[in-house]
């Protein structure tokens, strides 16, 4: 009977944690095909504006939740260990270079607009591509849900906005059924590729980067 109780306890534990602990998604694998080509020098910066990262509740490499058998949440982080915005910045730099642009990266220590403008004035180019991530996380149990709030801006060398495009989910957007870590990672990365490339295909952004 003691063995039976022990087995039940182990079973409960495995359902509670299962494959849910320590999951990591590899956003560095993303391959964003941009709808534009160019040869200009541009600057690129990705700003982490997630409230729970700014107030210190979550680390900057937090990218979502994987739930155990009873819905109990475990944090998912980036495979690289880097902040999510750094992974995104690396991916977008590669994509812009593939599209012919010459890219220098900008780094922002806070999402404050005057600070952003100062960084652009000091280190930017004539065109500065800024992606602000106010939300980006997946929530995985039976399905993979994505919660996101992104804004893409093109700014001039004074930090003034030339064009912008944004995309946000209304609540949790179901993007697939859930599988194991590798599959969930691919789905999350693919969603990032889709959402970001859509922003780049906004007519105002296309015009700003072509002019």
């Amino acid at each position: 009977m003691r063995l039976f109780k022990y087995s039940i306890a182990l079973l409960c534990l495995s359902f509670l944690t299962g494959c849910a602990v320590g999951n990591q998604y590899d956003y560095q694998q993303a391959d964003v095909s941009l709808p534009i080509k160019g040869t200009d020098k541009v600057s690129l910066g990705v700003i982490d504006n997630r409230s729970y990262v700014i107030n210190g509740d979550k680390s900057a490499n937090f990218i979502g939740l994987q739930r155990g058998g009873f819905g109990n949440p475990f944090e998912v982080t980036t495979s690289s260990g880097k902040p999510l915005t750094e992974d995104m910045s690396d991916v977008l730099e590669r994509s812009l270079v593939q599209s012919g642009f010459q890219v220098n990266k900008l780094y922002f220590s806070s999402p404050d607009t005057s600070m952003v403008a100062n960084v652009i004035k000091n280190n930017g180019q004539q065109k500065n591509i800024i992606l602000t991530v106010s939300e980006w996380k997946t929530d995985v149990m039976m399905n993979i849900a994505l919660i996101y709030d992104l804004e893409l801006q093109v700014k001039d060398q004074e930090g003034r906005e030339i064009a912008s495009a944004s995309a946000r989910s209304t609540g949790k957007e179901k993007i697939s059924g859930a599988g194991f870590q590798g599959q969930n990672s691919r789905v999350a990365v693919s969603a990032f590729e889709t959402k970001v490339s859509r922003l780049f295909n906004n007519p105002a952004i296309v015009k700003a980067l072509k002019d």
Binding site: I8, L11, F15, S33, L34, P35, I36, K37, G69, S99, M142, N143, K174, I175, S176, G177, A178, G179, Q183, S190, E193, T194, S197, R198, N201, N202, P203
Partner: protein, 149 residues
């Protein structure tokens, strides 16, 4: 003790069976793009696919009145409006079944992915590859809501 264990075991079985019958059909098409204006397609064979899914996709597109070819080359010998890529994932549960099918439409010039469709069906909700191809392509074309500029 029995009174506790019975509902517990039942709950576990319900959860396991629910996991066997999960389905998702999701498409996302860029509203700046009008797919209905695109007439010629080339389906690129997924290198890991040895079941000829590329032919099923091309056949389905042809049956919709479109002009579709398929092959291993990413750049077809003739100009096309859309490059179609896909990934199929299979699992075993008594027999092999298609767990997931992703189909993507790309611009041949920039490689920009403007449409994507995904069907995910676990074992108890399985469908044939032909049916999975049908439902994903139908869903992509249904999801295309063009924004007037």
């Amino acid at each position: 003790m029995r009174r506790i264990i019975k509902p517990f075991i039942t709950a576990i079985f319900v959860m396991l069976l629910a996991g066997c019958a999960n389905t998702k059909l999701i498409s996302d098409v860029d509203p700046q793009v009008d797919i209905s204006k695109m007439k010629s397609f080339h389906v690129v064979k997924f290198e890991k696919d040895n079941r000829g899914i590329e032919k099923l996709i091309a056949n389905k597109l042809n049956s919709m009145g479109l002009d579709a070819s398929s092959g291993t080359n990413k750049t077809p010998s003739h100009p096309v409006d859309v490059i179609v890529e896909y990934q199929d994932k299979w699992m075993w549960d008594l027999t092999m079944y298609m767990l997931e099918l992703n189909i993507n439409f790309r611009d041949p010039e920039t490689n920009y992915q403007f449409a994507t469709g995904r069907s995910f069906r676990t074992s108890l909700a399985r469908k044939s590859p032909e049916e999975m191809v049908d439902e994903v392509l139908n869903d992509i074309f249904r999801a295309n809501k063009v924004v007037s500029q």
